[in-house]
Symmetry: C2
Subunit: 424 residues, 2 copies
């Protein structure tokens, strides 16, 4: 029994059942929120030792630097060493900066617009048009940043092994206005897809009409596993060099979903040439990052294995939440064939596709019942989902009880919208 095999009467019955369920849901006066990929309070508690670190009179870096004073534009070497190990980037090519990788992405694009990269024919802002390739569904803040800067976005599909490289090739091979491509390579937002080394290798080797084409490699979830399998990210910098484009990758990561969101440390990594370019422009905008906070993180983690052990504690808190989402979606929706969803092995999201043309309706219904979902279309440039089918579910922040309640409600809304559509 799927919704396409039901006759009109059966669908009418389904519609009536789901309307009743929806009315009951509304009567509960819920106020639940599955919109953003925020850590839960229990996850934040894992890092509470940071609240009193580095501790009184502990302010010297390994090389004797007084972290309380100005300077050290590249960030604390010992913190960079820890993440060099975890992220697979040589420590000299990995800078530890402020509290937000989004800020670093902003800065890189802004400097590309105003100055260009060293291999740019001219500043990007002097080009008639600047375009980015955007695998979809993707991260809304990536798209909003480009839109705010007047950069055109063209979509390709995110497939099960990474972005559709043939589609990327067709775009960037002949049109020099394509200057960049967004990619969350590991446990992507929101699909959960990890780009395979094979796909990454092809992407890095593709001929591009623009000499300064860059892959914005936002490895936000590099160590955010949901199972015992610690999926390894493709070695972007090495693959780029092997593919003949050593400067193609600009790499971003942060501890926002490792320690405290907003009070962590963000990282920029790239080729030596790009790092020199980044540092040159950064030197006019900053005297150095918050080294005390970097020392605080060094004391907290100890070493790369300390980060791994810490992430394991996150996994133990998050895996049951993702399992609950999977179970409720399966129990309530699988038999009707009205939805497909991801079963991620890492990251922060479940990607839910509903019946075409009903995503906005599902989000509207959920809102009416006090369940806030990310607005339909958010995972697409200009917030335009061409099929009106994609909904991003963020299970991490809610308590387990709230999450279950909310997902039961979402399932009701998905079914109700599907039945409405079938009878329309």
């Amino acid at each position: 029994m799927t919704i396409v095999t039901l006759d009109r009467d059966q669908i009418s019955t389904l519609l009536g059942e789901q309307r009743d369920a929806y009315d009951a849901l509304k009567a509960r006066d819920l106020a639940l929120d599955l919109t953003r990929g925020k850590p839960g309070a229990d996850q934040l508690d894992l890092s509470n030792a940071l609240l009193s670190l580095p501790g009184s009179d502990d302010y010297r870096a390994a090389d004797g630097t007084d972290t309380r004073n100005y300077g050290g534009l590249d960030g604390l070497p010992e913190l960079r060493a820890i993440f060099s190990d975890l992220l697979g980037i040589p420590v000299d090519q990995l800078l530890a900066q402020g509290n937000s990788s989004l800020t670093l992405m902003h800065d890189v694009i802004v400097w590309a617009l105003l100055h260009g990269f060293d291999d740019s024919p001219r500043p990007w802002s002097a080009e008639e048009t600047v375009k980015f390739v955007c695998p979809v569904p993707g991260y809304d803040r990536h798209f909003a940043l480009l839109e705010s800067l007047g950069i055109e976005m063209v979509t390709v599909d995110m497939l099960s092994d990474g972005p559709d490289v043939d589609a990327v090739a067709a775009l960037i091979g002949s049109d020099p206005s394509f200057k960049g491509l967004w990619l969350v390579p590991t446990y992507a937002n929101p699909t959960g897809v990890t780009t395979t080394p094979e796909v990454a290798a092809r992407l890095m080797a593709l001929p591009a009409a623009a000499p300064d084409f860059r892959v914005f490699w936002d490895n936000a979830y590099a160590v955010h596993h949901l199972t015992e399998t610690e999926t390894k990210s493709a070695a972007a910098l090495e693959l780029a060099a092997a593919g003949g484009h050593p400067d193609r990758v600009v790499f971003f990561a942060s501890t926002s979903k490792i320690t405290f969101a907003g009070s962590g440390v963000a990282f920029f990594g790239s080729s030596p040439a790009n790092v020199a370019w980044f540092r040159r422009h950064l030197s006019f905008a900053s005297i150095g990052p918050d080294k005390v906070n970097q020392l605080r993180h060094v004391r907290f983690f100890g070493d790369a294995d300390g980060v791994r052990a810490h992430m394991h504690e996150h996994t133990e808190l998050l895996a049951p939440k993702f399992a609950a989402v999977e179970q409720i979606l399966t129990d309530r929706l699988a038999s009707y064939g009205v939805a497909r969803w991801s079963t991620p092995t890492g990251g922060y999201f479940v990607d839910l596709d509903v019946v075409d043309g009903t995503a906005a309706r599902v989000v509207e219904l959920a809102k009416g019942a006090g369940i806030a979902l990310t607005p339909a279309g958010s995972a697409f440039p200009y917030k335009q989902d061409p099929n009106d089918r994609n909904i991003r579910i963020a299970p991490t922040f809610a308590s387990m009880d709230d999450l279950r309640t909310a997902m039961e409600g979402v399932a009701t809304c998905v079914l109700l919208a599907a039945a409405e559509k079938a009878l329309a």
Copy 2:
């Protein structure tokens, strides 16, 4: 007896004496540094309580916000309230951000270039030329930032009561390419001058050809007094509104020289329209500042009087250093008429003018004796001091003994260079 009243023989004698003194200085193999306005370790020690704040399980803001999680783009209201009091800016118009006011200045100029302000005819980068008025001597990083962005700098003199407003008026009144003016209004870098309310009022009322002309009001030393007199900064926002240009001021400050340099909190303040503009562009680049660090500062200060008491401790450490500089310069140089210097009542610098055409030579001589001074010309756009006379002395970072040794050495170099010049 001044160098101009000495005859050639007397100058030759002086030259010989100072050459001997210089040789003796070189023989000491010094390695001293008066280049940057960095707090001394004893000053940083005053804030060591921060190293274990806010303390375990203390992470809730006054309104219940979990500071460990994402959000809160404007910064923590209670920290903004403390600095609203100190800086004289309504709390709604004062945002608490990251660790660097220089970064905020960079962001404002970058957004002005890419987007323009709301009252800009077009983005600044679409103008044929963008110029800034730069009172000199001034802050080298202000000038370096503009130079990196291709903004032309035109100088006016910094007088004893603030920038030469007549000169500013002549520039900005008819040339719409003048979009901004830098000003450190209180205890200016490096002159120590505080811009009076009268001068500030005139500056805010001046007709400007550019509708979007802005005064970049970098109040870096608002509470950094060196005496019991707590000089009050001119009320920039009020004066701008009274002068008919409510959106003229963009205000910057930070705790870099209050708590830890590089691990503090920076502030942006302006009119409601400018704050909305800033927040709009910021929202694409950040999910929020480091709120835990802001809470840490709230716990440390308590309230505005806590900041005042803390600054008084800084004064007690710094006043003797500035007194030592004053004493050595007076003892060694006053009678020769070879130099003029500031006697600041606040801030971080002593501004030293030597015989015209000898500043670079003095810095070179000092370097030869192991005493690092800020390169001559640093306080001018493009590092060009038209008179080659200005040297910025930064007395805060060195220990008292090192400072005395270095200043005795500097005095020797000033005299030696003056005698060389007189005999050339």
